[in-house]
Amino acid sequence: MTEQEVVHREVAAVDHTDYIVSMDEVTFTYPGSEEPVLNGVSLQIKRGDFVAVIGGNGSGKSTLCKTLNGLIPHYYVGDFAGSVTVNGLNSLECDVARLSRHVGYVYQDFENQLIRPTVLDDASFAPLNYGFKDYLERGKRALQLTDLKVDHNEYIWQLSGGQKHQLALAGAVSLDPEILIIDEPVAQLDPCHAKDIYDLLKNLNERHGKTIIVIEHHTEFIAEYCKEVILMDKGRAIWSKPVKEALRELEQLKASQIYPPQVTQAASLIVETSEVGLNSYPVRLEEAVRYFEQLAETIGTTVAGTASAAIPADREVEGESKTLIPPVIEMDHIKFSYRTVTRQRKVVLKDVSVSFQRGDLVALVGNNGAGKSSLMRLITGVTKPEGGYVRVKGTNTADTSPEELANTVTYIYQNPEEMFIEDSIRKDIEFFLKARRVEGYQQKVDEIVETFGLTGLQHRDGRLLSGGQQRRASLAIGVAMNPSIILLDEPTANLDIATRKDITRLLLGLNQHVETVIVATHDMQLVAEWANRVIVMNEGSIVRDGTRESVFEDSELLELAGLNAPQIMELSRKLNMSPLSYTVDDFAYRWNAVLPEHKKHRDQENGIESGQEVIENGICS
């Protein structure tokens, strides 16, 4: 136990703060498992707090939250020791039903939590079961609280992903619980909806006094919305700290595979190299603006016009010869629509013309329903355009079958589980090669399994792997098909940041084997770090096709397409840096290019040989 932890506990023991949750030495082992998932967890959560629970995969975050509504130990009957008190109730003495009136829970796979077919029916399901006569009113109130503006009799399968999340939240608040637990709200939603959900939670926290607990990987959201952070590691609560303090624990966060906000990373990277910085790192964008302005002021220089670290990959390198090479994919005046349940046709693509060349690393961006997935599915040939034509390497997709096109094109689903058609991932990877009776495929599969770090997992069922492993497996399945064109649908969605970095690295490796890669994504960091061509779609049309600069420097376009630029880019924009920095490394590089000059200068003046220079005017704490 660290010294800090002891102090923290002693304080908790003497003060009389109103704690809504207290856990004391809680240990839990799932039935049939050897290792405890929770290992002596002790912590307190204040009433009205907004808490983020962070930690690497398998650190026990979800299990921790399930002890609060009594699913552990009443529903999962494992080895349970210690005590949990929730809003004055001991979890051992109350059953799930009783505790659920105090604790609302929104799952990560919230779609499976919607039980009834229509909106109001689902929102009022819990009040109905608990015997409230006014259950419909309660349901309506919950819908109002969560700001879900759809017809009360709408069927849930007609809702968008964001609306479904709101409905799941409505179901959780329908019993008016004091505590709300939300498991990874950002993971499954596009960035705009994620922000909406957090604004909603903030409102519930501030105006309605709910205690909010989120399980979250995205530290930028934590910095913006949460007040307290609990770090879990290997089934233990390492500490519980106020958010700013917590996000500056860079070493410990790193050890748990948590990446601090980009602005914090940038500040720390600059200190590491140039040993110049102010006394506490910024965690939010506004703080960072002030931090770097002050830093610039102190050192009397600016980085506004410095050159970038690396020249961004330029696809115009080949110059004029490009026009002579036929495009890899050619889409001409494509129209596409589908039939909805009400038998009307919904237009998804209206008159889209675009072509893709060899060497293109395309990011396809835009809000949900803009037509990104439809465009990609047209390339695979599983759907055919209603007007116009799609040519893949000269073949019109309307004249061939998806099986035939699969020799050229690979499509990797957003949900990797839908790609697991065999009972082990090795069999999944070899499926394509085996079906085509490729000579010596075993050896090739061995290589791919090795490259994607799946050697130890290859005989396991894909469905039972963790999110990151599933994603790696789905990429391996795609690469095994040896395609010229790879299409990926949201390859980094639903992953923690560490795994996301891993996937980004694998994507960067792809272009050595593949002619064209097209990625549909909401992940603007991926776009900024990886793509050499960005296509922005909005309501079935392409509204921009150009470099990342042409997209990210156009704030109106970002607004229109519902895109959020990466934080580091916003920072460089606010600091009037030109060109903008797209990555933390580039940002730090440019500052470091200026700082040593200044430092050498200063050191010579003061006769200092070396040593960390810290300017003592804490602007952030």
């Binding site: 039903a97 799952y107 039980i115 079961n129 179901g171």
Partner: protein, 274 residues
């Protein structure tokens, strides 16, 4: 060839999904859909069972006509009608073949045709009743006549899951296509292609079953948290839930007209016989 492709495009998994959902939920505005589920149950109790015991051809034809009218009134989706017709036609066709092979004449065909008529009356009565109740209404109706809560919940939940399951099935099916090899030649009467598609249609069920098993975990936990098993012990909940159901003039009218028609039919048959 071109025609077959067009047909294949129409008979997509997506299309089937839409038809199924429309059959289940799309008919909320018809006269029949506004009736109380208990009325429909009572009505079905007669029209679903009585035809078995009626041997008079005229009476059966009378019922057949009435059922045709109610089926039209319930505005069922073309898919259901298509399946019904397919069933009846194949039955009639097979009867014809069988009686021809075994040397029977009208003597054998006629009673068999009577059976077909009975079956179609019962089928249409079922379609009328079950297409006029969305799964919600059906499950509430069953609950009100004393069927256990789990059964009625199961019906409503099954339908709620149907669209997402179909979608997932579709994705898995496409996964097979996007990695598999289709036969190079279609074969006589497309038999190679048909066999290929049938094979992956069956294979797609296995991954689907596994992923359902996985999803269910969250659902079961959510049910627990939303007090589903808690409510099981309380009759109060059932009362609250069903408090919206009541009989109206509409129900009376429907039962009266049906009863009147059946009575007249019997009178007519009686006068015809004597």
């Amino acid at each position: 060839m071109e025609y077959v492709r067009k047909l294949m495009d129409r008979v997509s998994v997506e299309g089937v999904k839409i038809e199924l959902l429309n059959t289940a939920y799309g008919n909320g505005n018809t006269f029949l859909a506004k009736l109380d589920p208990r009325t429909l149950f009572a009505w079905y109790l007669y029209f679903g069972i009585a035809p078995w015991f009626i041997h008079d051809v005229v009476l059966l034809i009378g019922l057949f006509l009435f059922m045709t009218v109610t089926t039209i009134m319930s505005r069922v989706s073309p898919l259901i009608i298509f399946i019904l017709c397919l069933g009846l036609l194949s039955q009639a066709g097979y009867l014809l073949v069988v009686s021809w092979i075994f040397g029977g004449g009208w003597d054998t065909i006629l009673p068999l045709l009577v059976l077909t008529t009975k079956l179609s009356v019962i089928s249409m009565a079922s379609i009328t009743v079950f297409c006029s109740m969305d799964p919600e209404k059906l499950s509430d109706g069953l609950l009100s006549i004393g069927v256990p809560k789990q059964v009625s919940f199961g019906i409503a939940y099954g339908y709620r899951m149907l669209p997402s399951l179909l979608e997932e099935y579709h994705h898995i099916f496409l996964s097979f296509r996007l990695r598999g090899v289709a036969p190079k030649r279609h074969g006589i009467l497309y038999w190679r292609s048909i066999a290929y598609f049938l094979k992956i249609a069956v294979l797609s069920f296995y991954p689907l079953i596994l992923s359902i098993a996985k999803r269910t975990r969250t659902t079961v936990e959510a049910l627990e948290a939303k007090g589903f098993s808690y409510a099981y012990q309380s009759p109060e909940v059932k009362k609250n839930k069903l408090s919206y159901m009541k009989f109206t003039i509409r129900d009376g009218l429907f039962i009266t007209v049906s009863a009147l028609y059946v009575c007249l039919l019997y009178l007519f048959t009686a006068s015809y016989t004597f």
